[in-house]
C-alpha cells in the first residue's frame, strides 16, 4: 500500500484570529499529528492576529510535531499583531525537574500590576501545582499575561485522573466536578480546594475561565454567570486551563 510509505499530509485551516477563543483548528491539527500525519497550515489571512493564547497553541503544536517527528508545512513568517490591551506576555515550558523562576521574573518586569500580581500568583501556583501533581505529564506549557494565565498539559486528562476516586458519565461532568470544593484524588494530604479557589478568585474579579479536556470544553463567564458547555471533536489529550481575570465583551464573542 503506497499510503503506508508516503507520509500523509492533512490541511488545517487557521482563522484570521489565532486564539483560544476559536480553538477548533488547534484540536484538528493536534489530532492529525497524533494520527501520525504531517500537516499543512493554511492561514485565512496573510497577516493573522495572534493573541498570546494563540501563540501558546502554536507553540504546543510545534512541540507535538517534534515529539511525533511530523512535519508542519506552511509555518508562516508571522507578522504578529497583538491586541492593544495585551502588549506583554511570558510563555515557557515547565518540566517536572525544572521550574524556571518564571513568576519572579514576571513580577520584576511588571511591578505596576500591583495587587493584580497577587491574583495572578495565586492562580499560577494552583494551576502549575495541579499540572505537576495530576497531569502525569513530564512537561507543560505556561502562559502568563498581565490579566490572564493559561496552563496547557498533554497529560492523562481530567476525567481519567478523577476516575481514581469518582466515576463520571462523560468528560463534561468530570470538568464541572473538578471545579467543586472538596473534589480530590489524593489519599495523602487530601485537598480539593485549589480549583475551587481559582474559580472563587475569578468570581471576585468578574473573570473568565476556559477549561478543556477529553471530549469536553467549558467556558464560564463569572460576571454574567454565563456557562457554555460544548463537545470537543476531535478530543483533546491532556488539559487546558485558561483564566482571565477580567471578563470583557471580547471574551464572550
Amino acid at each position: 500500500m503506497r499510503n503506508n510509505i508516503i507520509t500523509q499530509i492533512k490541511t488545517v485551516k487557521i482563522p484570521r484570529l489565532v486564539s483560544l477563543k476559536y480553538p477548533k483548528w488547534f484540536f484538528k491539527a493536534l489530532d492529525s499529528l497524533q494520527d501520525g500525519h504531517s500537516i499543512q497550515l493554511e492561514f485565512a489571512s496573510k497577516k493573522p492576529v495572534i493573541d498570546p493564547s494563540g501563540v501558546a497553541l502554536l507553540e504546543l503544536l510545534k512541540w507535538n510535531a517534534s515529539v511525533r517527528k511530523a512535519e508542519i508545512r506552511g509555518w508562516p513568517k508571522l507578522e504578529i499583531t497583538f491586541p492593544s490591551h495585551q502588549k506583554y506576555f511570558s510563555i515557557d515550558w515547565f518540566t517536572r525537574s525544572l521550574k524556571p523562576p518564571f513568576f519572579e521574573r514576571f513580577k520584576e518586569l511588571r511591578p505596576e500590576l500591583g495587587e493584580r500580581l497577587y491574583d495572578l500568583e495565586l492562580l499560577f501556583n494552583e494551576l502549575t501545582q495541579n499540572a505537576l501533581d495530576h497531569s502525569g505529564s513530564d512537561r507543560f506549557l505556561v502562559l502568563l499575561e498581565p490579566n490572564a494565565i493559561g496552563v496547557f498539559d498533554p497529560g492523562v486528562g481530567v476525567r481519567a485522573k478523577l476516575a481514581q476516586a469518582y466515576s463520571f458519565e462523560n468528560d463534561l461532568a468530570a470538568l464541572e466536578s473538578a471545579l467543586k470544593i472538596g473534589v480530590t484524588t489524593r489519599t495523602e494530604r487530601p485537598g480539593g480546594f485549589g480549583l475551587y479557589y481559582t474559580l472563587d478568585q475569578l468570581k471576585k474579579n468578574g473573570g473568565y475561565l476556559y477549561f478543556a479536556s477529553g471530549r469536553a470544553q467549558l467556558r464560564r463567564y463569572l460576571k454574567s454567570k454565563k456557562i457554555e458547555r460544548k463537545k470537543l471533536d476531535p478530543p483533546l489529550r491532556g488539559t487546558i486551563v485558561y483564566c482571565c481575570l477580567e471578563q470583557n465583551r471580547r471574551n464572550e464573542g
Binding site: P101, Y118, E121, L122, E126, Q129, G182, G191, F193
Partner: protein, 95 residues
C-alpha cells in the same frame, strides 16, 4: 514565643505545595504557641496555607485555638483572608 520564619525555613517550591505545608503543620504542632513570620511577602498558595495551617483543624484544633496559639506576623492581608476562609471550610467539613 517561638518563631518560624516562613521565607527562611521553606524554599520557594515548598511554599507552594502541600508537602511544604505539611512540614509547616508538623513544626507548628511540635512547638506551639508560635509566631509565624511572613515578612510582608505573599504566599499566594491555597495548597500551602491549607495543609500548613487550616488542617490544624483536622488535628483537633478549633478556630479559637488557631488564634490563641499562632501569631501571624506581617502576613499579607490576602493570605490572611485565605487562611480564615480555609479554616471556616475545614471546620465545616469536620462537623
Amino acid at each position: 514565643m517561638k518563631k518560624i520564619d516562613v521565607f527562611k525555613e521553606f524554599t520557594a517550591e515548598e511554599r507552594m505545595t502541600r508537602v511544604g505545608g505539611e512540614k509547616l503543620r508538623l513544626m507548628i504542632l511540635k512547638i506551639h504557641p508560635v509566631a509565624l513570620e511572613f515578612a510582608g511577602r505573599p504566599i499566594a498558595s491555597v495548597s500551602f496555607l491549607d495543609e500548613g495551617i487550616a488542617k490544624l483543624i483536622l488535628e483537633g484544633w478549633t478556630a479559637k485555638d488557631v488564634e490563641a496559639r499562632l501569631k501571624f506576623d506581617r502576613i499579607h492581608p490576602r493570605d490572611l483572608q485565605i487562611v480564615r476562609d480555609l479554616i471556616k471550610e475545614r471546620s465545616k467539613s469536620k462537623t
